[in-house]
Amino acid sequence: MSALSRVLNSPRARLAAGILLAIVLIALPLVSAPFANQTITRIVVFAVAVLGLNVVMGYAGQVSLGQVFFVGVGAYAAGITIKSEWGMSLGLGGVVMGLVLAILIPGVLGLVIALAAARLRGLGLALVTIALPIIGVPLAKRLSDITGGSQGMSVRVFAAPDWTGLDNDQWQYYVVLALGAAVFALVFFLVRGKYGRAFAIVKENEAVASAMGISPYRYKVLAFTIASAVGGVAGFLYIVAIQFVSPDVMSFGHSIELVIATIVGGAGSIVGSLLGGAFYVLIPQITNSIYPESTTVVQGVIILIVLFLLPGGLASLPRKLARRFRRSAPSRTAGPTTPGAVPPAGEAEDTERQGQR
C-alpha cells in the first residue's frame, strides 16, 4: 500500500499523470460526441469561475457570494464588445478586445467593491457580496438596450476556421481549454509564490499578518480583485462556449451553487477547482435527467455531507483515504504502532493547505 502511495505522491508520477490527462483532453474531442465536448467545455468554463472564487475563498479565506456576478459582467462585456460595430470591424481583434474588457471591467468593479467591503471585519465580504447577484439581474434587465434585457442576447463569437477542419463544438472546446489552462497556470504560480504565502497568513491570522508587515486589507482587496478578473475570464469563456448570455446567468441561486461547488471541489486546491467545475455542471445535468425538482436538494445534501465528513472537499479524498489506510494497515500486519511514532514521509504532503478545516 505504502509503495503505491509513494508512487502516487512522487512529483514525477504527478507530472506523468498531468501529461496523460492533457493528451486525453486534447485527443478526446476528435472522437467523442458534440454533447460530451460541450459538457467538458462548460466544465472548464465553470472551473475557471470556481478557481477565481478559490483565490479569495480558499486561499485568502474570505467568503464571497458574488462571484457569479463577475462571471455575468464578463460575459456581457465580451458579448457586447464582440457584437458592437466596433468589435465587428476589428474581426478577430474584436474578440480579443472582448477578452480584454471581460477581464478589465469585472476587475475594476471588484476592486471598487473590495475597497469598501474589506473594511468590515470578519464576514464583511460575504455580507456585501451577497447583494451583487441580486442587483445584477435587474440591472442587466434594465440596460436592455445593450444587454437584450431578460431575453438575453446571443453572440456568434467565432466559427471554426476552415484550415483546422474542425467542427464548431471542437473548436470552442480547444479555445476554452487553452485559455482555461493558461488561467489555471497563472493562478497556480500566483498561489505558490509570494502572494500565495501572504494570502495564507492573512487567512490564518490577520493580527500576525499585520505584525509581519503584511496588510490584511491590501491582500484581501488584491485577492478579491484577482477573483473578479478571473471570474470575468470565465464570463468570456462562457460566451465562447454557450454563445448566449441572459440575466439568469448571475442569479442568486447560481451564485450559491458556485460557492457550494468551490467547497465540494476543495477550497484552497487547484485540482479542487477543476472538480468544483465538474460538480457545478454535472450535478444539475444528472439530476435533471432523473428528477429535475431534486437538483437543489441534492446540492444542499452534498455540501452538508462534505462539510461534516470531508472538510477539504473532494480534492482531499485520496489523501484522506491514504491516511486511513496507513493508520489501519500496520495494526493488521505488525500490531499496534507506537503512539509517538514519526509520521511516514508522505504525511508531509498534509502541509499543503486545503482550507476550510
Partner: protein
C-alpha cells in the same frame, strides 16, 4: 407635481416592508450575539415555517372554520419554527461552533440550499396562496391616508414583538442567562448557566421571529420557495448599517433602508421599482467607507 399624500404613503409603506427587514435583521443579530455566526439560512427557515403554517392552516380550515384555521396555521408556524431553530442549532451548527467562521457561513449557505430545495421538492416552485385574514391589496382610510391593512398589521405586529423580546431579555431569568452567554460564553458556563440550552433558545427565538415575517410576507405576495432571498439581502444590509451588535440599530436601519428605497423608487427615475434593491448596497458601501463598525455598533478591539 409633488403630492404630500403620496409622499406620506410611501413612508408608511416603507415602514411596513421595513418591519419585515427588521424582523429578519433582528433574528440575524440574535443568532450572531449568541453564537457569533451569521445565519444565511434565516430567510429560508422563515419561508419553510410559512409553508408549514399554510399546510396546517389548510388542514384545519375545513374542520374548524377559516378563522380558526388561520390561527392554527400561525401557531403551527411559530411552534415548528422554534423546533426547527433548536434542531438546526443542535445537530448542524454546533458542530461548526468555535471553528473557522467561514466554514460556519458555508454551512448556513448549505442549509439555505437544502431548505429551499426541500420546499421546492415538497410544494413545487409555483406560487401558492397563503390563507390569511386579508391580502396585500385591501386598504383602509386613516386620517385621510389610504393605508393598506397589510402595512398597518405588519408594522404593529413587528413593533409589538420587538417590545416583547426586549422585555424578555431585560426582565426574565431566561433573558439574563441569554445575555450572559452572549457576553461571555466561558464565564457563564462556569457560573452554572446551561450554555447549550441558551444557544438553542437563541436559535429558536430567531427562527420564530423569522416565521412571523414569513407568514406576513406570504399573506401579501403568496408563497414561493425563494421569496426571502431579496429580504435576506435587505436584512443583512440593515445589520451592517445598524451594527451587528446593536438590535435597536438594526431595526432603525431596516426602517431607514425601506423608506429611502421607496422614496428613491418613486422620485429618482433611473432607480425605479426594479432597481431599488441597489439602494441598500449603495448606502452600505458609503457607510463602510465612512464608519466600518456600523452606525450604532461599537468598535471592537481584538486582543491578540
Amino acid at each position: 407635481m409633488f403630492n404630500f399624500g403620496t409622499f406620506l404613503q410611501l413612508i408608511v409603506d416603507g415602514l411596513a416592508t421595513g418591519s419585515i427587514y427588521a424582523a429578519l435583521a433582528l433574528a440575524i443579530v440574535l443568532v450572531n450575539q449568541a453564537t457569533g455566526m451569521i445565519n444565511f439560512a434565516q430567510g429560508g427557515m422563515a419561508v419553510l415555517a410559512a409553508y408549514l403554517g399554510m399546510t396546517v392552516g389548510n388542514l384545519v380550515s375545513p374542520v374548524a372554520g377559516v378563522t380558526l384555521g388561520i390561527i392554527a396555521g400561525i401557531v403551527a408556524a411559530l411552534a415548528l419554527s422554534y423546533a426547527m431553530g433548536a434542531v438546526v442549532e443542535r445537530f448542524v451548527m454546533r458542530r461548526f461552533m468555535g471553528g473557522d467562521p467561514d466554514t460556519a457561513v458555508v454551512a448556513t449557505i448549505g442549509l439555505l440550499t437544502l431548505i429551499t430545495g426541500l420546499i421546492g421538492l415538497i410544494w413545487t416552485y409555483n406560487y401558492i396562496p397563503y390563507p390569511f385574514f386579508f391580502t396585500g391589496l385591501e386598504s383602509m382610510s386613516l386620517g385621510g391616508l389610504a393605508v393598506s391593512a397589510w402595512s398597518l398589521t405588519t408594522f404593529l405586529t413587528i413593533v409589538a414583538i420587538m417590545l416583547l423580546l426586549q422585555a424578555l431579555f431585560r426582565w426574565t431569568k431566561l433573558g439574563l442567562g441569554f445575555r450572559a452567554v452572549a457576553d461571555n460564553r466561558a464565564s457563564s458556563a462556569l457560573s452554572g448557566i446551561k450554555v447549550g440550552r441558551m444557544l438553542q433558545v437563541g436559535w429558536g427565538l430567531a427562527a420564530m421571529l423569522g416565521a412571523i415575517a414569513g407568514v406576513l410576507v406570504a399573506a401579501k405576495i403568496q408563497l414561493v420557495p425563494d421569496m426571502f432571498d431579496t429580504y435576506l439581502v435587505y436584512a443583512l444590509a440593515a445589520v451592517i448599517i445598524g451594527g451587528l451588535d446593536s438590535p435597536l440599530g438594526a431595526v432603525l436601519a431596516a426602517w431607514g433602508i425601506a423608506v429611502v428605497e421607496n422614496l428613491a423608487a418613486a422620485y429618482v427615475p433611473f432607480v425605479g421599482h426594479d432597481l431599488k434593491i441597489a439602494v441598500p448596497l449603495i448606502l452600505m458601501v458609503v457607510l463602510l467607507v465612512l464608519r466600518p463598525q456600523g452606525l450604532f455598533g461599537r468598535k471592537v478591539v481584538v486582543r491578540v
